[in-house]
């Protein structure tokens, strides 16, 4: 499936959908091939019904400004670019005030697929590929 984006902006915004125990939440993430994993603004995970006490993991993340600790939640379902992932790991983070996004869509979401970013047409296409070696 093909998803449009605005190629004149400095970031690529991707609408995503997070299914939780209490709500389905649609949020915009930035496509980030420099991120190993997918991160979502922590209050959005709380809104979907994920309890920090029920986090499934805790990790240290290397960021440009240093190392931070984050919690991992395995979400019931996560959808973006026409692909649905079940029991998908999402890392919770709080992004700085003044930024207008709710997280980043990282490489873990794209593995096993072919990602095409067309900066001329302003289109992203994600198609099933095969297992990542």
């Amino acid at each position: 499936m093909t998803t449009p984006f605005d190629p004149t902006r400095r970031t690529i915004v991707v609408p995503t959908q997070l299914a939780g125990p209490t709500r389905v939440v649609t949020v915009n993430l930035l496509l980030d091939t420099g991120a190993s994993d997918t991160f979502i603004q922590e209050p959005k995970l709380l809104t979907a019904g994920y309890d920090p006490a029920a986090a499934t993991g805790q990790y240290t993340v290397a960021t440009p400004s240093g190392f931070i600790g984050v919690l991992e939640f395995r979400v019931l379902a996560f959808t973006a670019l026409g692909r649905v992932r079940v029991d998908f790991p999402i890392l919770a983070h709080t992004f700085p005030p003044g930024t207008g996004h709710d997280g980043v869509l990282g490489l873990d979401f794209f593995r096993g697929n072919v990602l095409t970013i067309d900066f001329v047409m302003g289109e992203i296409t994600l198609t099933p590929g095969g297992p990542t070696p």
Binding site: V25, D32, P43
Partner: protein, 76 residues
Amino acid sequence: MSKVMTRAEMDAQFPDEWILVTDPVLGPDLFVRSGVVAAHSKDRAEVERAALETPSRHIAVWFNGDPIPPGFKVLL
């Protein structure tokens, strides 16, 4: 009763604001096409509080503007 708004109406009325929509109608690309605006504000935390309080089981939240403030460069 709250009024259903189209995405174009929201874009025009709430520029550079966070928008919370309940029971959104989405396209196959997951972009919001229409819905009821339950909250809007330039303050993200205010909209996040409203999202926690809404009884709706399906919501959409987004910033209606450039995700990066003017004059800033980005290193995620």
